[in-house]
Symmetry: C2
Subunit: 129 residues, 2 copies
Amino acid sequence: MSDDCVMPLSDVQAEACPIVQIIDRVAGKWSVSILVAATRGPVRYTELERSIPGISRRMLTLTLRNLERDGLLERTVYPTVPPKVEYRATESARGLYGHLTGLLEWAEQHRPDIIEARMEYDRAQALAA
Amino acid sequence: MSDDCVMPLSDVQAEACPIVQIIDRVAGKWSVSILVAATRGPVRYTELERSIPGISRRMLTLTLRNLERDGLLERTVYPTVPPKVEYRATESARGLYGHLTGLLEWAEQHRPDIIEARMEYDRAQALAA
DNA sequence: CAGAATCCGTGAAGATACTG
DNA sequence: CAGTATCTTCACGGATTCTG
């Protein structure tokens, strides 16, 4: 236990950008849908807004910015009138596609189970109170 | 993670559980590590606390409760002294293992790229200002 | 050991209105 | 169309204390 020597390099890097943070960015609530869509093909802003139920403009913009900042999305502006902006997944982000769609499939398949498990848990909890 | 969604039974459950919420629960910041560990084998509370850097007691407990509530974790208490509590992934949660470990692998492999992309983005942003 | 309970600061997230 | 700007609310998450 008492390993009070120098902190390994891996831990230092982990502190600068912990793996948990990357997971959150890449598999976060809104990121999943965006990354999947942007991997299938270039998508426009409003297109994303319509295809992701429940997302607000602010959160869409924020998530897009963050994904772009991390080098997962590429943003292309066409200076037309009205303006046109396309987002597409970068090469490194494409490796996520399989896992993310897998997650989405799992979620859809198990949604009924989750809803029921939740109700049962809450019911048991209500009885205890 | 919308952790405090302990909605009353009167709610319309079918629509109150969007796919995005499931994704958040299942692939959330802390859930990933917990689910992966609990799939590999039964894990104890303190064991999880030690193996997940950066997690607080509160978040560990909260995430465990939510995962249990959704039927993804099974909690077993052994009435020994001192008490022993084990968490293990349920059958339905095991289907997530491949996708989650895939995400973790991707994250580890691309961490250097992300760190650099982030620095470059910030540098470009600083120049624009 | 494995939590529960409490307080509290910070940031996430929504709603709305505005703009080039 | 593709965003900003502003305001507000609420939940995340840390720190601490207590307990069976």
